[in-house]
C-alpha cells in the first residue's frame, strides 16, 4: 500500500524524517508478512502430511463446503471494505474511512462467528483436537488463522475508536495502511487454506 504524508502530523518533526519513519514501519510490516508466509507455509505443509491420518475419527467428509464458501466470500469482501477505508483515508475523508473500517470489523467478526460455529459442529461430530493427527493439524492451522483474524478485528476496532476521537491521522498510534496490509494478508492466507484444506480435500 502506498504511503500517507505522516510528516505533516509528526509533532515538531522534520518532514523527511517523518517520511523515513513511515518507510521504516512499512518495510518492517512487509518483513513481518514475509515471515508469516513461512509460518503458515509450515502449518499447511503439516496439515497435508497428516491429511490422511484420521484414525477412527472423521475426515474431510464432514466439511460443509457451501458454508465455508459463504465464510470465504465474507472475508474476501472484507478486503474490499478495507481497501475502500484506506482509499477514503488517503483522500482525507475520515467519516467514510470510519464507515468502511467499521464494515471491515463487522465482516471480520462475522467470519469469526462462522468459524466458531463450524468448530462447534465438528466437535459434535467427533472431530476434537486430540482425535487424530488430521484433526490436530486442521485445528492448529485454522485456529491460528482465526487468532490472526481476531487480532485484525481488534486493530480495526482500535482504528475505529481513534477515528471517533479525530485521531485517525495521528501518526503516534496505529496506521490505516499498516492495519490494511495485515488484514489483506489474513485474507490471502484464507484463500490458500480454502483451496488446499477444504476444496482439494473433499475431491
Amino acid at each position: 500500500m502506498a504511503s500517507h504524508p505522516v510528516a505533516e502530523t509528526l509533532p515538531g518533526g522534520h518532514a523527511e524524517s517523518g517520511h523515513d519513519i513511515h518507510r521504516i514501519r512499512k518495510t518492517a510490516m512487509w518483513v513481518f508478512l514475509g515471515s508469516e508466509c513461512l509460518f503458515f507455509g509450515a502449518m499447511i505443509a503439516t496439515f497435508l502430511l497428516y491429511r490422511n491420518s484420521t484414525g477412527d475419527g472423521p475426515g474431510p467428509e464432514i466439511f460443509d463446503i457451501p458454508f465455508t464458501s459463504a465464510s470465504s466470500f465474507v472475508l474476501l469482501m472484507s478486503s474490499l471494505t478495507m481497501v475502500l477505508a484506506h482509499d477514503a483515508f488517503e483522500r482525507g475523508d475520515s467519516r467514510q474511512a470510519r464507515v468502511w473500517l467499521g464494515g471491515t470489523a463487522l465482516l471480520g467478526s462475522t467470519f469469526l462467528a462462522g468459524q466458531i460455529f463450524e468448530f462447534t459442529e465438528f466437535i459434535h461430530e467427533g472431530l476434537t483436537l486430540p482425535t487424530s493427527p488430521f484433526a490436530s493439524s486442521f485445528y492448529m492451522l485454522t485456529g491460528f488463522h482465526g487468532i490472526h483474524v481476531a487480532v485484525g478485528v481488534m486493530l480495526l476496532m482500535a482504528m475505529f475508536i481513534l477515528s471517533l476521537n479525530g485521531r485517525l491521522y495521528d501518526d503516534r498510534g496505529l496506521n490505516v495502511e499498516l492495519v490494511g496490509l495485515y488484514w489483506h494478508f489474513v485474507d490471502i492466507v484464507w484463500i490458500v487454506i480454502f483451496t488446499v484444506v477444504y476444496l482439494l480435500q473433499v475431491l
Binding site: M1, A2, S3, H4, P5, K26, T27, W30, V31, L33, G34, S35, E36, C37, L38, F40, G41, A42, I44, A45, T46, L48, L49, I65, P66, S69, S72, F73, L76, M77, S79, L80, M82, V83, L84, D87, F89, E90, R91, G92, G180, L181, H184, F185, D187, I188, I191, V192, F194, T195, V196, L199, L200, V202, L203
Partner: protein, 96 residues
C-alpha cells in the same frame, strides 16, 4: 492528502471491479469442485484459480504492484520461502 506515492493508485471503482472478479473466481472454484467429469483437472484448476485470487489481492488490494522493488522483494522472498519449505517437507516425507 495524496502524495507522489499514492497518486497512481487505483480509484475506488476499480476496487469494486476487482472484488467482482474475486467473487466470480470463487464461485467458479466452488462450482468446479463438484463437477465429476473434470475429476483429473479439478486439482490443478483449483490451484491455478487460488493463485489468481492470491495474486489479485496482493497486487491490487495490498498495492504491491505499485510498491518499490525492495517491498516487493521482502514479501516475495517470504512467499518463495514458503513454497520451497512446502515442497521440501512434503518431498522429505514422500507426501507429494
Amino acid at each position: 492528502m495524496t502524495t507522489d506515492d499514492t497518486a497512481h493508485l487505483p480509484a475506488a471503482r476499480t476496487y469494486w471491479m476487482i472484488a467482482a472478479v474475486l467473487f466470480v473466481v470463487t464461485a467458479i472454484e466452488v462450482a468446479i469442485a463438484y463437477v465429476e467429469r473434470l475429476a483429473d483437472l479439478v486439482a490443478p484448476m483449483l490451484i491455478i484459480l487460488g493463485a489468481i485470487k492470491f495474486g489479485i489481492v496482493v497486487a491490487f488490494f495490498m498495492h504491491l504492484k505499485f510498491e518499490k522493488p525492495l517491498m516487493k522483494s521482502l514479501f516475495l522472498i517470504g512467499v518463495a520461502g514458503a513454497i520451497i519449505l512446502f515442497i521440501v517437507v512434503l518431498a522429505t516425507f514422500r507426501a507429494l
